[in-house]
């Protein structure tokens, strides 16, 4: 792979070990994927944050990087960078009942990232809190649902980065140029036509179905209705969890649909029709619990927007919730919710706004829960395998039960 003079200096250790190692990772990844060169990025988003997934090994690596004696302004993140969700609410873990040892380790991990110049904002929806690239920017993001959103809805360019690769990209301000960074790889390879309009959790069910069908391909949707950003967030999350979708196009909605090659797909009859009953069946099949009620209703996968929190506040206003209720989001959106009074409404009803974490990466299996209620197809897909718990998949208004 071609390196310019400055990149050579970084690779040779001129700026210390942290930069050298990061550059070595980028060069190795570039070689593995046949990249011709590196490309400058404008943003990074880094996975590998939860203590549940990276453990003591990950913590030690990050502390090693952060303790580099040569660590100076040259060796910390070169571009705006945020973190994926952590395993606990970093500030309020104690009152929410998160295990203390786990929570302490979790804070150490996030502090080490902070020392490397990465913002300690832990969220899977960085595009809701200021980490927002422009159309056609090259970026290095790793959270799979955020990758789908930033590629598809915003039209920036990223591959599905691994955690250490995205961190290396943040530290160097560069990433190897291959895959979705190249125009020719952004064409669609399956046309999906919807028979009827969809809304709410239907988007997750659609993504779940199509993700299985296309694997790592690029779907092109023709919908019967317009979508909200919240619905697109759910669609991408589901596509990226049942499949490995990094990019999708929606006719008349997403920025690159008219260069996605729809005519080719029609010419080759490369298309499927999704019916109303396909969507309904998928919604039903995403529930694997025989119970009617969840112990814990967990909303905000991917992290809730202010609009979603407002809707939840309207559902629970002046009522008393029977289940435990978590609404997962970032500290930024929580601050806005506090100011709007939504947090108070939800807390008065017995629910919680939980920051920094989510049901997939938190140790919920150790917190006494058995059945989790979710309105996210991604969460419904991961909670049984990653947490060993049962799920009910439904709209928030049906999941939340009230004391009579």
């Amino acid at each position: 792979m071609y390196l310019n003079k400055e990149e050579e200096r970084m690779y040779d250790g001129f700026y210390g070990d942290t930069v050298r190692k990061s550059m070595e990772i980028l060069v190795a990844l570039g070689d593995i994927y046949d990249a011709e060169k590196l490309v400058n990025i404008t943003s990074a988003q880094i996975s590998g944050v939860s203590y549940k997934t990276i453990g003591d090994a990950g913590l030690e690596y990050l502390e090693d990087l952060a303790s580099d004696k040569n660590l100076n302004r040259e060796s910390v993140a070169k571009v705006p960078s945020t973190l994926n969700p952590a395993g606990t609410d970093l500030d309020n873990w104690e009152s929410l009942g998160f295990p203390p040892k786990f929570s302490k380790k979790q804070n150490e991990i996030v502090d080490a990232y902070g020392m490397l110049g990465i913002s300690k904002t832990c969220t899977c929806t960085p595009y809701l809190v200021g980490n927002v690239p422009k159309f056609r920017d090259h970026v290095a993001w790793s959270e799979s649902s955020a990758v789908a959103y930033v590629n598809s809805v915003i039209g920036a360019r990223t591959n599905r980065e691994g955690g250490p690769g995205a961190l290396a990209a943040a530290i160097c301000g560069k990433t190897p140029m291959y895959g979705y960074h190249l125009e020719e790889n952004r064409k669609a390879n399956l046309l999906i036509e919807l028979e009827t309009p969809i809304s709410g959790i239907d988007y997750g069910a659609l993504g779940y179905m199509v993700g299985k069908e296309v694997g790592s391909g690029v779907p092109y949707f023709v919908l019967k209705n317009d979508s909200t950003n919240t619905e697109l967030k759910a669609l991408g999350a589901a596509l990226a969890s049942s499949g490995a979708v990094a990019l999708y196009h929606i006719e008349n909605e997403t920025p690159e649909y008219d260069s996605a090659g729809k005519n080719e797909l029609i010419k080759n009859n490369n298309k499927i029709l999704i019916t109303d009953s396909d969507i309904k069946n998928t919604c039903e099949n995403l529930t694997n619990s025989s119970k009617n009620e969840a112990d814990l209703v967990c909303l905000g996968c991917p992290h809730a927007s202010l609009e979603e929190i407002k809707d939840i506040a309207n559902i629970v206003k002046n009522k008393e919730i029977k289940n435990d209720l978590w609404v997962c989001t970032s500290i930024n959106v929580k601050a806005a919710s506090d100011r709007m009074g939504y947090t108070k409404i939800i807390e008065s009803a017995g629910g919680h706004i939980v920051c920094d974490t989510c049901m997939v990466v938190a140790p919920i299996e150790d917190m006494g829960y058995e059945t989790i209620g979710v309105n996210s197809a991604k969460a419904a897909n991961y909670v049984p395998s990653m947490c060993g718990l049962d799920v009910i998949f439904d709209e928030a208004k049906n999941l939340i039960k009230f004391k009579s």
Partner: protein, 130 residues
Amino acid sequence: MVIKCRTISKGKARGELIVSNELLSFLGGVNPNTGEVIDSNHELKGKFIKDKILFIPGGKGSTVGSYVIFQMKKNNVAPRAIICLNAEPIIATGAIISDIPMVDLPESTEGLVNGVKVEVNGEDGEITIL
């Protein structure tokens, strides 16, 4: 005898080869405290890769595997060097962050069998059979 390769992770190391034709997942497949292969379906099951030169086709499984390699290095139970037919991101990243020399795409695999002593040169991209 010298076999040309591609450099993945810099550095040099000598040791005895341990060879498998199967992909290896470090997460769940190797005990990071002892260096023992614990994946019950793997042909190296029960073998220790500590201080060996590990020669496998490549890695598989979770990207957290990179951090498992790092933990093995910290626990002094990591392989001295890694040779892959085709490197993939998990092991490549793991080797780099752990300062373990690594090469891939060997021009020939003749003579690279269990127990043979080799030197892996991650600077020049070479394996030397000693």
